[in-house]
């Protein structure tokens, strides 16, 4: 089901791009926005029929300590995102969306929730660099860094494809972030809800109380 929807969305997007590259005159509507509305049919959350298993990641947290993702988030509602701190746009927006939505929860629910940011750029995102960055967003968030191959393999089990940081034609370092936030249920520890980049504070605010109870948003 999900794959089909994405394929259809990709087709629409491709069509829209072709059209907009050509018919530059029409500025009345943005086809890309329409596409995402169609693909998600008004809902930004995608509930998975077959949840993802939580990746077996043992990495280093922002205090330089070993962090075993499965052990330390067991039985906890957990949100995972793969990104990097040298990212001006989507990574801070995604993490700030989660931070603002989290702050609107009752204290007891906030304490249950785990938000885990796994870096896709471990060379630059040392534990302390990650810690400084996350402190500006929400100091309760967990930041993980470590061996890139391990992180990449963990991301792959969640259907998230990332590449190592590379140099672009101007010699600048360029990293890649994931495009989804994955929510894991406290009941099953399975990753059962996906959020795309268009998810807003309001979407997370509405859905988080349900995710914290392991219910479908």
């Amino acid at each position: 089901m999900r794959k089909k929807t994405y394929a259809a969305a990709a087709l629409f997007a491709a069509a829209a791009l072709t059209l907009s590259a050509c018919g530059s005159g029409d500025d009345s509507n943005k086809p890309i926005a329409d596409v995402s509305a169609e693909a998600g049919s008004g809902k930004v959350a995608t509930i998975l029929d077959k949840p993802f298993e939580k990746p077996d990641l043992v990495l280093t947290d922002t205090h330089g300590k070993k962090y075993d993702l499965r052990a330390q988030t067991k039985g906890r509602p957990t949100l995972i995102y793969f990104g990097y701190t040298h990212c001006p746009d989507v990574c801070p927006l995604t993490m700030n969306n989660l931070a603002v939505a989290k702050k609107q929860l009752p204290k007891a629910q906030q304490d249950k929730l785990r938000v885990v940011f796994v870096t896709t750029d471990p060379d630059r995102d040392t534990p302390s660099a990650l810690g400084t960055w996350l402190k500006g967003i929400d100091s309760d968030f967990v930041g993980l860094t470590g061996d890139f191959a391990t992180i990449q393999a963990g991301a792959r089990t969640l259907g998230i494809s990332i590449e190592p940081t590379s140099k672009d034609k101007n010699g600048k370092l360029v990293s890649v972030h994931g495009t989804q936030v994955i929510a894991f249920s406290p009941k099953t520890d399975g990753g059962y809800v996906l959020y795309g980049e268009d998810a807003t504070v309001d979407d997370y605010t509405k859905d988080l109380p349900k995710i914290i109870r392991g219910e479908n948003p």
């Binding site: 530059s24 943005k30 801070p92 927006l93 504070v201």
Partner: protein
């Protein structure tokens, strides 16, 4: 009666496809008024409040009611290091310039094209206004005031 009709029908179908391709290609060339003066308007500019003073993004829309132009560079007191980026599938790519088609628009929007400000002179706070100069190949420099919005601001929801 039907048989001879068939090949001509499929030929007609074929011709329609070719015509469609030609039409698309024709309109892609930018067309009739490539020599006309561009008439640019910049709207919807904003900067999400950055969490550190090392990096910030900027967004805006350029609408053009005249001939084609090109955004070549951006400058500001906030940073000496401002670059233009596109984003494809989670990876951003630096671009030297961005085309603004005749009678078209150029969007810098979250998740897509963005300005990247690095090594900021200070960390801009929500409510502040950042003065930014957009440099165009034909229209010259356009000064805009870029309001700093919340870190989670989206033009769609307005907060």
């Amino acid at each position: 009666m039907r048989r001879p009709g068939r090949p001509s029908r499929s030929l007609a179908g074929c011709a329609t496809v070719i015509a469609a391709i030609v039409t698309l290609a024709g309109c892609g060339s930018g067309g009739n008024d490539s020599s006309a003066e561009p008439e640019l308007k910049v709207t919807g500019a904003y900067m999400p409040a950055p969490s550190m003073d090392s990096m910030a993004a900027g967004f805006f829309t350029v609408t053009n009611s005249g001939g084609a132009d090109t955004l070549t560079s951006v400058s500001s007191d906030l940073s000496d290091d401002i670059t233009l980026h596109s984003t494809k599938g989670g990876a951003m790519e630096e671009e030297k310039s961005f085309a603004i088609p005749a009678d078209g628009r150029l969007d810098f929007a979250s998740g897509g094209n963005h300005l990247m400000f690095e090594k900021l002179t200070h960390k801009p706070k929500q409510g502040e206004k950042v003065s930014v100069e957009l440099h165009f190949a034909k229209s010259g420099t356009v000064k805009i005031s870029m309001p700093v919005k919340s870190a989670t601001y989206t033009p769609k929801t307005g907060h």
